[in-house]
């Protein structure tokens, strides 16, 4: 009988971690529905980016206030999780505060956790106020209705509850308070509760302890359904992010092969393709499977902060385009495709695609390719590359560019300039006064 709590704890733990693992696997499988990319180059630069951008949050300081608050929550989150280790050991073996034998170092650790818990609590409240009272514009764009808006707030409530439980758990732990080692914040809460009988305190402590660890497991499993996945995916995402100047757009290799063939007078256009050469299914992207694994990882990583959209010249001047929405749509469609695969083992056409059903042409054609979104994203997401892939599909597979662009392209083809001027007049400026 006395082992029931231990067994219960183990069951909850295994279930919590198991379900999380299952969903992470699903994410990986879904990402692999995309086109493989080679990211084996520039290892040093990539690790450097991970340390600077993901770990060091270098892009977050561009906006100092949210940057600082985010840093507190992020550090608090990581550091307080050391405490979870103790909780897990205690839970499995039925011990109580197993690390407390570390003495004054333990006190130091707990004291820093308690201070961080308060700081996190305060920061999260400021975040909530920014979202809901001050109503910063980037949290109220059209794509932020419904679930995305609630999701943002749920995470904040979660953090508040977890931090509160942590402090209550410490405050009502009579043994811990008697040790008087590290209870730098919780001793005040304990003071307010000094009239409560010890048996009641014990119950509160146990309840808070259980809710805290169960809460953490729920939070862990909530990630998969939330924009909060970035706390994990930011790291691989930054690693796989671009390591070239932002102005360099990838050249489609499949096109290069065809162009070379067209320009090589000795090539036999009727020759069978060389052994092993795959004929590309299509140029550009109309659905998520046509995008690269990096672009799909981008979609899962997006934290819907809207920094990209708030810097986007098209969005700022009232166009429909929002780079954040491009990322959210890609993720939504990928989830839909993933569910389809869950059900049918292999993807069965469902009469839908990313283009038109999620992202409209009007959005795609409004982009100036200015890279402001790419620059703004704190976790190295590239919304522009998805826009480009989809434009490529529209132009090369559907010949569906806006008419003025068709004229421009015809001019380039015929006169080597986007305007209808004769190439032979190209040097006229030299002799004009």
């Amino acid at each position: 009988m006395q082992y029931i709590p231990n067994i219960l704890f183990l069951v909850i733990l295994i279930f919590g971690i198991g379900y999380f693992t299952k969903n992470i696997r699903k994410i990986i499988r879904n990402i692999k529905l995309g086109q493989a990319v080679d990211a084996s180059d520039n290892k040093g630069q990539r690790w450097n980016n991970v340390i600077r951008i993901a770990l060091g949050q270098s892009k977050m300081v561009v906006r100092p206030i949210p940057g600082l608050l985010h840093l507190i929550v992020y550090l608090g989150f990581i550091i307080i999780n050391i405490e979870v280790l103790e909780i897990i050991i205690d839970g499995i073996f039925g011990t109580h505060r197993i690390f407390s034998s570390l003495g004054s170092f333990y006190g130091f650790l707990i004291a820093s956790f308690e201070i961080l818990a308060v700081l996190v609590f305060v920061s999260v409240i400021v975040f909530w106020i920014r979202r809901n009272i001050i109503r910063l514009k980037r949290f109220w764009n059209p794509e932020m209705k419904g679930w995305p808006k609630n999701d943002g707030n749920f995470i904040l409530y979660f953090e508040m509850v977890l931090m509160t439980l942590f402090l209550i758990m410490n405050a009502t732990d009579v043994h811990f308070q008697e040790m008087n080692n590290g209870n730098i914040v919780s001793k005040y809460i304990a003071g307010w509760m000094s009239v409560t009988p010890e048996s009641t305190l014990y119950i509160i402590e146990r309840v808070a302890w259980w809710l805290h660890i169960v809460g953490i497991l729920i939070f862990l499993n909530y990630l998969y359904f939330s924009k909060h996945l970035h706390i994990i995916l930011a790291f691989p995402n930054v690693y796989f992010g671009s390591v070239t100047p932002k102005g360099k757009f990838t050249n489609l290799e499949s096109v290069t092969n065809e162009v070379k063939l067209m320009m090589d007078p000795s090539a036999d256009p009727y020759a069978a393709p060389p052994e092993g050469a795959e004929t590309p299914a299509k140029f550009g992207a109309s659905d998520v499977m046509d995008l690269t694994t990096t672009q799909l990882l981008n979609a899962y990583t997006c934290t819907e902060c809207g920094r990209c959209t708030s810097e986007c010249p098209a969005n700022q001047t009232g166009k429909k385009l929002s780079p954040r929405k491009i990322m959210m749509d890609t993720r939504d469609r990928l989830e839909e495709v993933g569910k389809n695969v869950d059900k049918n083992v292999e993807f069965q056409p469902d009469g839908k695609q990313l283009l038109d059903d999620y992202i409209s042409r009007e959005e795609l054609w409004a982009c100036t390719t200015c890279n402001a979104c790419v620059e703004a994203c704190p976790v190295s997401i590239d919304p522009l590359s998805i826009i480009m892939s989809m434009r490529q599909y529209l132009v090369m597979e559907q010949s569906a560019a806006p008419n003025e662009l068709n004229i421009t392209m015809t001019n380039i083809e015929n006169n080597a300039a986007p305007w209808p001027f004769n190439q032979m007049d190209r040097a006229n400026w030299i002799n004009e006064s």
């Binding site: 561009v62 070239t244 100047p245 932002k246 102005g247 360099k248 757009f249 050249n251 489609l252 096109v255 290069t256 065809e258 162009v259 070379k260 067209m262 320009m263 550009g284 010249p313 098209a314 700022q316 001047t317 009232g318 166009k319 429909k320 009007e362 054609w365 409004a366 982009c367 100036t368 390719t369 200015c370 402001a372 620059e375 703004a376 480009m388 434009r391 490529q392 599909y393 132009v395 090369m396 560019a401 003025e404 662009l405 004229i407 421009t408 392209m409 380039i412 083809e413 080597a416 300039a417 986007p418 305007w419 001027f421 190439q423 032979m424 190209r426 040097a427 006229n428 400026w429 030299i430």
Partner: protein
């Protein structure tokens, strides 16, 4: 106006068995657009003045393919690129300078994968190096003390991380450089990139160039300095839309330097 421009073509150089120090890639706007041609000439004057041994491709130059690529037509882009690379390699070109950040970006970043490897510089970078080598004198002249703001071209700034060369030149012109709120990495696009120059904008509540020009006007400049023929057009249009053309000029940095030296 001093003596006539000396702008030899690569074909002429080739005939004489000579190789220039640098190829001046003029670009489509620089060749055909009336406003941009003035920038081209100003830059050519500066090159003449600094004694730079340069040549142009003339009628053998053609569009780099940038607008086609960014409109999504990778085929057309790569066709243009391969043809240009053939011409450039035929003349054994090593170093290119251009007054257009779009040409600059494409030649520098997107040609190497297709076999075209050159050292490519934007004209502000090239002018800066001429100045540092003491070949080009940049002095304030009539611009001294004038309030001037600089609009970062996306394809020079964010795309290629060059924010300082144009500013150093402006500093040498002894102007009072005032930055817009959105500048450098956060600079707002003029609205022309990604082939937008060649089409009507999508439905919205404002044109991007007007938004940008308003921000520039807020700094109360007498000149808005630019480093791109397309930005130049967009902002000039913006200034007209705001009916400020009497008090605010839009000028390329090359024009300013040439103008200051009374070339």
């Amino acid at each position: 106006m001093s003596e006539a421009l000396k702008v030899p073509t690569m074909a002429e150089y080739m005939a004489q068995g000579k190789q220039p120090e640098v190829l001046f890639w003029v670009g489509c706007a620089g060749s055909f657009d009336d406003r941009a041609k003035k920038i081209t000439k100003a830059f050519a004057k500066l090159l003449n003045n600094a004694g730079v041994d340069f040549a142009v491709l003339g009628t053998e130059e053609s569009c780099t393919g940038d607008p086609a690529k960014r409109a999504g037509n990778e085929f057309l882009f790569q066709m243009q690129a391969m043809m240009n690379i053939q011409v450039l390699d035929g003349y054994e070109i090593k170093k290119i300078v251009t007054t257009c950040p779009h040409c600059f970006n494409t030649l520098k970043n997107e040609y190497p994968d297709l076999g075209g490897n050159y050292e490519v510089m934007h004209h502000t970078q090239f002018l800066k190096s001429l100045m540092n080598e003491g070949r080009l004198k940049v002095e304030g002249g009539k611009f001294k003390g004038k309030r001037i703001t600089f609009h970062d071209p996306c394809y020079l700034g964010r795309a290629n991380n060059e924010y300082e060369a144009p500013r150093e030149l402006l500093q040498k012109l002894e102007v009072e450089l005032v930055e817009m709120k959105r500048c450098k990495t956060r600079g707002l696009c003029c609205g022309a990139g990604g082939a937008q120059m060649f089409k009507e904008p999508e439905k919205g509540n404002k044109d991007i160039n007007v938004e940008r020009t308003e921000e520039a006007i807020e700094t109360q400049p007498s000149i808005i300095a630019a480093g791109c023929p397309f930005c130049n057009t967009m902002i000039t249009d913006g200034v007209k839309a705001k009916e400020k053309e009497a008090s605010i000029q839009v000028m390329d940095i090359a024009e300013m330097i040439a103008n200051a030296a009374d070339l």
